[in-house]
């Protein structure tokens, strides 16, 4: 009996988590402008969406910002993790603290800071300012994920390679890189997800014409509930689920290989 209550509660929590989202998905296929009652299945709202130039421009911005910022953040974050975990140096705790502060700082404060910084140094707002802003919140996540891989790093290997005459660059390429590659890939995936998911910081630093998909969704929402918002939300959901499923699949493959 107790067990049944527990399961019922759990199912309740799952329903609370999913039901609202399912309503949106259902409405996106509903052939009615006012979305009150079910008027039959349609793909009309997806056509409306895919033909909108604003949507296509936002999609392009999202892709360019996501890929560029992820590339920069992955390089910087990986280097940082390697330095933090393989060397002992004065001030390493300060750098670590800086990473945690970045993670816990409210988005709105980071957005305000970056906007004021760009205005103070007279940096024109646009796609570039958004990319630089995204790299800021991506670096700590890449560094922490890669750092996780480095925690169990066999230092002996480095010393052995050094004794055998391998230089610093060679050691990095032959020993460190292959061992932390899964961490780098996972870190890059998280960085990319954070970039395409971000609304607030992009909203503050984009200026005119550099809107990404989340910023586009926001401006559509501000104009009221329309069926094409449901379609866009459903497409975003599908992308999220696809990326999540891929991530799970990849991590499972990796575990099996290690085992």
């Amino acid at each position: 009996m107790k067990r049944q209550w527990r399961l019922a509660g759990l199912v309740g929590v799952f329903l609370f988590a999913y039901l609202p989202i399912l309503v949106v998905v259902a409405y996106s296929f509903n052939d009615s402008r006012f979305a009150l009652t079910w008027n039959g299945f349609t793909l009309r709202w997806y056509r409306v969406l895919l033909q909108s130039p604003e949507f296509l421009a936002a999609l392009e911005n999202t892709a360019i910002v996501g890929l560029t910022s992820t590339l920069i953040a992955t390089v910087l974050g990986t280097l940082l993790a390697v330095g933090l975990y393989l060397y002992r140096f004065a001030g390493s705790s300060i750098v670590r603290a800086l990473l945690y502060v970045t993670v816990i700082l409210p988005d709105i404060v980071m957005a305000v800071g970056l906007l004021m910084f760009y205005v103070a140094v007279q940096f024109t707002l646009g796609r570039n300012s958004v990319i630089l802003a995204h790299v800021t919140f991506q670096i700590p996540f890449v560094a922490l994920v890669v750092g996780g891989r480095l925690q169990a790093f066999p230092r002996v290997l480095l010393e052995a390679a050094g004794d055998l005459g391998a230089g610093r660059i060679q050691r990095a390429r032959v020993i460190i890189l292959p061992l932390i590659l899964p961490g780098i890939i996972a870190g890059a995936a998280i960085a990319f997800t954070l970039s395409i998911d971000d609304f607030l910081i992009t909203y503050f630093t984009a200026g005119v014409g550099a809107s990404t998909i989340p910023v586009r969704i926001y401006s559509m929402l501000k104009r009221g509930v329309t069926p094409d918002v449901n379609a866009l939300a459903t497409l975003m959901l599908a992308t999220t689920f696809l990326l999540g499923w891929l991530g799970l699949k990849l991590s499972r493959v990796r575990e099996e290989k290690l085992a």
Binding site: R6, L7, G9, L10, V13, F16, A17, P20, I21, V23, V24, Y27, F34, L36, L79, L80, G83, Y87, F89, S92, V95, L98, L99, V101, T102, I104, L105, P106, D107, I108, V109, M110, V112, G113, L114, L115, M116, F117, V119, A120, V121, L132, A133, T136, I139, T193, D197, F199, L200, F204, P214, I217, L221, V225, N230, A233, L237, T240, G244, L248
Partner: protein
Amino acid sequence: MKDWRAVAATVGPATGYLAVFLLLPFIIVLLLAFSSAEGPGEAGEFTLRHFREIVDPVYLTVLWRSLRLALLTTVLCLVIGYPAAWAISNLEKSRQVLALIILVIPSWINLLIKNYAWIVILRREGVVNVILQGTGLSSEPLNLLFTEGAVLVGLVHSYLAFMVLPIYAALERIDRRLVEAGRDLGAKGWRLFRTVILPQSLGGVIVGCVFVFVLALGSFVTPDLLGGARGMMIGNLIQNQLLQVRNWPFGAALSVTLVAAVLAAVVVFVRVVGRAGGERAL
């Protein structure tokens, strides 16, 4: 070690980047908050007048609401999340992973979409009102949207997973033999929970509470979409001062206040709650 060149080459670039794009911006905000200048990077004299401006009934209402909603969100997430985490940790091992995945997936969904879903459900011609009127429970559509209650529902829905995950992780680590021992010694139900299970999962509770409280206190999207003017929180006030009113020094002062509140919350949760729990465990 004489590895300073390797340290500079690895740690240097990212640290330099964060110094320019994180520390410097925050210093600019901090300076503007305490300055008589009108814009960032401009010269001005030291003043506290932007902080005195906050002590105005209009703004204090928003600040008080932010604090209240963030606390209520934390409590509700704890009340819903702890039993959920407990239920998951009692499933069979293979089912636990599945249950966790089911629970975590919604937290990957974009915040705008999650909160938009609640607009669809709560608006005057939304799902709830259609059901209420259809079943005759209400003759007129209720104003559910643009209330503090709507914001609260949206916040709990957005951040619940951040409470469940750390608590589940803590419950997973509990030595089941201690629970058995407690049971053998005659502890049951509430007593067993309070003396054996709760103290050992308190670390997870603290982490979950800090996550949810900090996220809720600094939220912008949820109160913006579901709260309207009556559900405005400090994040919305900051955005309003920055992008609409264009009173940047006041926006800076509010941002500094928010950061101070977040830091204070982290310290309070970790110190006070942690210590109280430690004593109870003894």
